[in-house]
């Protein structure tokens, strides 16, 4: 699974920074049927979280109304250099984790 993460590589201490994430996922709602009438089982991401040097700074629950390939953006305050860790989990054991580094001066 591919993910696209946009975290500024550098920031000044105290800066409010925008983080953008895009995760590849079909987000099948569970409400659709095939041409022969069989229900297509739900297959979505249900949980997204972001840790900044181990501390959770953002969390979201996802539901069937989300589009495919969910695009989630949020803001946080740059406090220290380190690592952002992003985690997505969902139906059928879906789990992906990606990290991105930031240098804070």
């Amino acid at each position: 699974m591919a993910a696209l993460i946009n975290v500024p590589a550098t920031a000044k201490r105290g800066d409010v920074i925008e983080i953008k994430t895009l995760m590849s996922h079909i987000m099948e709602t569970g409400f659709r049927h095939t041409v022969t009438g069989a229900a297509i089982p739900r297959d979505i991401i249900t949980d997204f979280s972001c840790r900044y040097n181990g501390v959770e700074v953002f969390r979201a629950e996802l539901f069937p109304a989300f589009s495919a390939n969910p695009f989630i953006t949020f803001f946080t305050v740059a406090t220290e250099s380190g690592v952002f860790e992003f985690r997505w989990s969902g139906d059928n054991g879906f789990y992906e984790a990606v990290t991105a580094n930031i240098v804070v001066t």
Binding site: A2, A3, L4, I5, N6, K20, L22, S24, I26, M27, S67, A68, N69, F71
Partner: protein, 261 residues
């Protein structure tokens, strides 16, 4: 295609029976990419690589590019090395004339020829995730480069056949592609901009599809909307249409992977 769009197409069909219809082909200087008709938010999504969902396909394509498969035990990279150099400008001149088959092949067919002939692996299905990813990766290497479709003189008869298909009325609504995309491109149909049908961004991420799709998928959408029987994926008419559209858009920059509503 939604029911509302069928109805809208029927209304438009009635409008087109009026005598003013034949405005002729779009003038060279008036050509506009489909992206210029989009909302600023959708344009921003296309132009930002970390917001453009089509880039997920490009990333998948980069993984597949390096994967060894088939009886020949070769990856695309074994022969073509780094896609960013070997594939630069390639998508801008497809469909291209194939010396062995003596006819034009589109990029999807070209990738499958390599799969079968050079990797000795089964061809990828049309609109499969893998084929879309590989063609998105290859198309991305031409982004910003001018379309050079149909310049090979051996392609001329095929461009002409594609043009004839574009001009021919077909389907239960008795519409030709030209009736919408040359004569009425500046209008809207059920809220959608009709546009001039330039194939600048394929494969592209269509919000309505919630995924990547090829130019052929787009053309089948329009054919179903005209209530015509869409051609099969491998039909020569399909490749000829793609070729005509690329020659009609000659010089316009490639946007792959584009985003469309």
């Amino acid at each position: 295609m939604s029911v509302s769009r069928f109805i809208a197409a029927a209304i438009l069909a009635t409008a087109l029976i009026l005598p003013h219809a034949d405005a002729g082909e779009v003038a060279f200087s008036e050509r506009r990419s489909g992206s210029t008709f989009m909302a600023p938010e959708t344009q921003a999504m296309q132009s930002n690589d970390t917001a453009n969902p089509g880039m997920l396909g490009v990333l998948d394509g980069a993984t597949l590019w390096g994967k060894t498969i088939g009886a020949a035990e070769k990856s695309c990279a074994s022969c073509h090395n780094d896609a960013s150099t070997s594939m630069s400008g390639v998508a801008a001149r497809y469909p291209a004339f194939d010396d062995t088959l003596k006819r034009p092949v589109d990029l999807e067919q070209r990738v499958n020829l390599c799969r079968v002939d050079h990797q000795r692996a089964p061809p990828l299905a049309y609109e499969s995730r893998e084929l879309l990813a590989l063609t998105a990766l290859i198309g991305r290497q031409s982004r910003g480069l001018p379309i050079a479709g149909g310049t090979d003189p051996r392609l001329t008869p095929f461009v002409d056949k594609g043009r004839a298909t574009f001009m021919r009325r077909q389907g239960q609504l008795n519409l030709a592609c030209t009736n919408c995309h040359d004569d009425n491109w500046y209008k809207r149909l059920a809220g959608s901009a009709i546009t001039q049908a330039h194939p600048t961004g394929y494969p592209l991420y269509r919000l309505e599809w919630q995924g990547l799709g090829s130019l052929q998928r787009r053309l089948r959408n329009c054919m179903v909307g005209m209530r015509a029987q869409p051609y099969d994926a491998d039909a020569p008419e399909m490749v000829e249409l793609e070729l005509y559209l690329m020659s009609r858009a000659r010089g316009m920059p490639i946007e792959t992977p584009a985003v469309r509503p």
